[in-house]
Symmetry: C2
Subunit: 408 residues, 2 copies
Amino acid sequence: MTQTLKTPETSQANRNRRTALVRAFTEPKGFGDATLRNPRPDAIELLGGIPDPGLLPTAELSEAAVRVLARPGAPALQYGRTRGWPELLSWISEREDVPVEQLLITNGGFHGLNLAVSLVVERGDPVAVDNPVFPLFLRGLEISDARVVPIGVDSKGLDVDHLEEILRAGQRISAVYTVPDFHNPSQGSLSQQRRRKLVELAEEHDFHVIADNPYREINFTGAPVDVSAFNGSDRVIHVNTFTKTLGPGLRLGWIRLPEELAADAIALRSRQDSHTSLLVQAIVAEYLTSDPGAFDRQLARANQVYAGRARTLVDALDRELPGFFDLQVPEGGFFLWPRLQDDSIDADALAASASRHGVEYQRGSFFPSGPGTDSDRRLRLSYSNVGEDRLDLAARQLAGAVAALRAQ
Amino acid sequence: MTQTLKTPETSQANRNRRTALVRAFTEPKGFGDATLRNPRPDAIELLGGIPDPGLLPTAELSEAAVRVLARPGAPALQYGRTRGWPELLSWISEREDVPVEQLLITNGGFHGLNLAVSLVVERGDPVAVDNPVFPLFLRGLEISDARVVPIGVDSKGLDVDHLEEILRAGQRISAVYTVPDFHNPSQGSLSQQRRRKLVELAEEHDFHVIADNPYREINFTGAPVDVSAFNGSDRVIHVNTFTKTLGPGLRLGWIRLPEELAADAIALRSRQDSHTSLLVQAIVAEYLTSDPGAFDRQLARANQVYAGRARTLVDALDRELPGFFDLQVPEGGFFLWPRLQDDSIDADALAASASRHGVEYQRGSFFPSGPGTDSDRRLRLSYSNVGEDRLDLAARQLAGAVAALRAQ
């Protein structure tokens, strides 16, 4: 989420004294830097998985904060249980149909990944991951100095048949990492058949699945995502967050764990930072429970806007650059992952030209976890935090960038 | 901060698959359980280092929350930099006279300890710690599976001369852990001479000092605590928190780091949970900066009450149990650490009798990190969250408990 600040002045002596934990951290590559570099006010930024602040329930959270802080004895300012604030746990338990004993509140989705990796990935272990992959997960995985085993992702999500092949060929893994719903960056969702097979493989080959699900509620299909294969399995750590729905700045999420890992998760968490801010947990719980329909109404409102933006961006690209991209209309999430059809276009040169024409996006080449993808022929375009007029303009500017490139 | 929930049903298979990180965690002992067990409404609880909710600026934080969430674009709900919210960093930097580059915002003091240990303690390394010690630190230290080297603490804090002796005798350590101001549990503060010598030893013997300072602002002396020896050293990680001043539930603190560790700290944090809740940081920054004198006025008000309670408890014990304890009037912090003068009193039996008479406290025997202390002849009595009338009553009930014990 930020660049690290390795300085050349770091003394050799100090470098030698760094713990093995820290020595496993690599220098940041393009993705993390670009995501949190200073915004360019003169450009249209299609960069991050960022919810539109205008679509967050800011006023409702403000009112909830006032009510929470007016409670006698200010319980939200006192110590709490590591697992989480009871009202928030109850709400999640009921909505997810998961026992409280299998839940742990986290400081957002990325923290859930950190806990999951710490619990099930021994240092140096091989871990199978999406290819292409959410790049920051690879950075997160460095806390266990893990070896990455890339597994392709297609329009139906992780290629579970390929995973099975390499397992049958003798590859041992301690975990699989995948984004099952509205994949980042590649849009697809893991089919129900693949979900079931993934869980069966986990049982058969003795590994855990880390299912990272930040976008599941950003759903344009009209039907809820079915996560029962994950929430019912004693092989899956299901990582959830309020980041995309209520705001990244809260740093609030939860993991659903197999019951046999729950005690270890709490033991780890109680050695890390005790528990997630009770003030944040209490504010969100108050928002979710004081008006029981509020969250779903909020989601419906936001998803209508996000779906409209996705459609607008697709239409604008079709109009301004007909046939230039192979693309799918997103069914959810924040990203479009179009593929360049013209093999003569240099993708890096296009990104540079787009930047000169006032459009910033993430290059597809940031996303592979291994060879064998067409990611370097793709763009990751985030439409979540850009209005429809600006998305139209972005498509026109991108067309200008393509024209300029072809004129060179 | 909570009990872990090791269940006997945990399968042997699962136990074998636990990561080395988790395998190093031991079962909780008395202290953690007692701190967060359910409160006894029928008893006077002198248990935890808990600020009185009536002495927290609840209304001001509520008003700050409303103002923060009314800002255009809701920046407190968006992603932020790992180091922290700029307004909060600036406030700390100015107050502490420390460059922002040496600061990192944390999820409270315990999280600062976790980061410090992860940065400077290699797995299995020896770490010198206070004896007696804040027991939860020993639990936190298990993330590095460290070996504990106990160093005595007296009325002037850590016995730095003894530390020097064992270092000269060849003991290698990677860190020293101490609570320098208003020690938990033993009340004393590290003298300026010892601070300077500790830093010199760290330079000479190539270790880091983890200075854990949650109580420094709970100061009854009228003169500010002098932390310059720590904030100016490239050998000290100074761990601070708003827990005792603004509320544990916020989960908000900061560490001041040597500049050469700062990049690694940010690299670690960005792999852990990205950053502390911006909403929490923004609310507290708004409270601290919108009325620049508010925090110090709040501290003065709270410390007057805490000092009065400390005095009341000392006077009541002197009155109800004259000569029974050897005790010092606290100069700050939340704890009285009286010593039993009568060797015929069984300290565990006294705690049990006190519990029957309606007074709960922490037994001194929970606090040693090694042999050689008189901790098992002491009681840790927390006066921070109990009114003066109830402290008087606690002393009377304790006298009843002693009488009952002697009558047995």
